[in-house]
């Protein structure tokens, strides 16, 4: 067992992910694609700027996916690899990526669920390979991700200011 670790998301990771997500949006004719870490943190967005609070959205997405994972296990399934939430105008399609990340696609009636599902499948494969390599890189390092010297001292000062001394 271990203590908490940290991981990092680099500029080059973001560039490659951005290209994959933008390709997906074009091919599926969807509006927005979001990548959310399973712990509830937003990693990347592409397409139309979301009109909702992305921080809250990420936390609820992770909770949604985790709760459904448990439901799947109750049925004897390992997981539900994808979820679909249908709205009157806007709908969401969520898919697991390498068991660590969730791909969320927001789309409306300019496209169909079938097309979104089809295009998501190939992008999930590419994203899975990318994230698996990224996690292997982190695991291979002697330490987890770290911030530059001076960050902690400065952050402590901010904590004292914000939360009182």
């Amino acid at each position: 067992m271990s203590g908490a670790s940290s991981w990092s998301f680099r500029e080059e990771d973001a560039t490659r992910i951005g290209a994959l997500l933008n390709g997906l949006l074009r091919e599926a004719n969807a509006r927005t694609a979001l990548l959310v870490d399973r712990t509830g943190q937003m990693l990347a967005t592409a397409g139309e700027e979301p009109r909702f609070d992305p921080v809250a959205f990420a936390s609820l997405t992770a909770a949604d996916f985790s709760a459904n994972d448990q439901l799947a296990r109750m049925l004897g399934e390992n997981e539900f690899g994808a979820l679909f939430h249908q709205g009157e105008k806007d709908s969401l399609y969520l898919a697991d990526v390498a068991r660590r990340v969730i791909l969320v696609v927001l789309f409306d009636n300019r496209t169909t669920l079938g097309l979104v599902k089809l295009r998501v499948r190939s992008v999930v494969e590419a994203l899975s390979a990318l994230f698996t390599a990224m996690f292997a890189r982190e695991a291979g390092g002697e330490r987890g991700a770290h911030v530059e010297a001076g960050f902690v001292d400065e952050a402590e000062d901010e904590i004292d200011k914000l939360f009182g001394t």
């Binding site: 908490a4 509830g40 609070d53 936390s59 911030v147 904590i159 009182g164």
Partner: protein, 224 residues
């Protein structure tokens, strides 16, 4: 698990408030939400029942501002305290960076406190996490109530200390928030470590920010 996002220049850390039902976890978050400057806080989300008991979690993002070019944010979560919501509790602990155990000081809640603490250890272990190696603080809430147990009894029950095996760590460490008290010390020939503890009356905010400040600093140290 803290996430350092070099692409969007963000650092995000996840803090979880754990403890028995009706102990004051949500009250802690509500007080923080009320007092933190509007620019520093996001939307507070509560997935609660009609009677305002936490069903899944409460969530409050708090921005520390931009530090060395990185937007730094704490994600504060509570878990549902009632025993039968364990599946939800376990989910919220995924990727946790720091834990606050909110204990209920009332004598008659001692058993519920112990049960919840044991449950916390078990659930952390199921995520492969060792609570003794993670930023962890205890808050004893409801100190104003006439039936509150003495602090020494609560400490003995919930924060008795775990053995320090590593010889390099077998040295006295004072408690930064309590003068004259120790976090690591030798007791009857054996080295033990306790976690920082705080007395609180969360309803009126006493001890709420002391607790948050302590856990935030402990989590940030793990990034350095």
């Amino acid at each position: 698990m803290s996430l350092i996002n070099y692409a969007s220049r963000e650092v995000n850390c996840k803090l979880v408030y754990y403890g028995p039902g009706l102990g004051g976890k949500t009250t802690n978050l509500e007080y923080i939400y009320e007092k933190v400057a509007p620019a520093s806080k996001g939307k507070m989300i509560s997935l609660a029942t009609e009677t305002e008991r936490t069903l899944f979690f409460d969530f409050l993002p708090v921005d520390l501002g931009t530090i060395r070019g990185f937007k730094t944010r704490f994600h504060l979560y509570t878990v549902p305290g009632q025993v039968y919501y364990n599946a939800s509790r376990k989910l919220i602990l995924k990727g946790v960076d720091g834990v606050v155990f909110v204990g209920d000081s009332q004598l008659e809640r001692m058993e519920a406190n112990l049960e919840s603490m044991q449950n916390l250890y078990d659930n952390m272990a199921q995520h492969g996490l060792d609570l003794t190696r993670l930023p962890f603080v205890i808050q004893y809430n409801k100190r104003d109530l006439p039936n509150a147990a003495p602090l020494s009894e609560l400490q003995e029950a919930l924060n008795p200390g775990w053995p320090v095996e590593d010889p390099a760590r077998q040295r006295p460490v004072p408690d930064p928030s309590r003068s004259g008290e120790m976090l690591v010390q030798e007791v009857d020939g054996a080295w033990v470590e306790r976690v920082p503890h705080f007395e609180a009356v969360a309803l009126r905010g006493d001890g709420v920010f002391d607790t948050l400040r302590a856990i935030s600093k402990l989590v940030l140290k793990t990034l350095g």
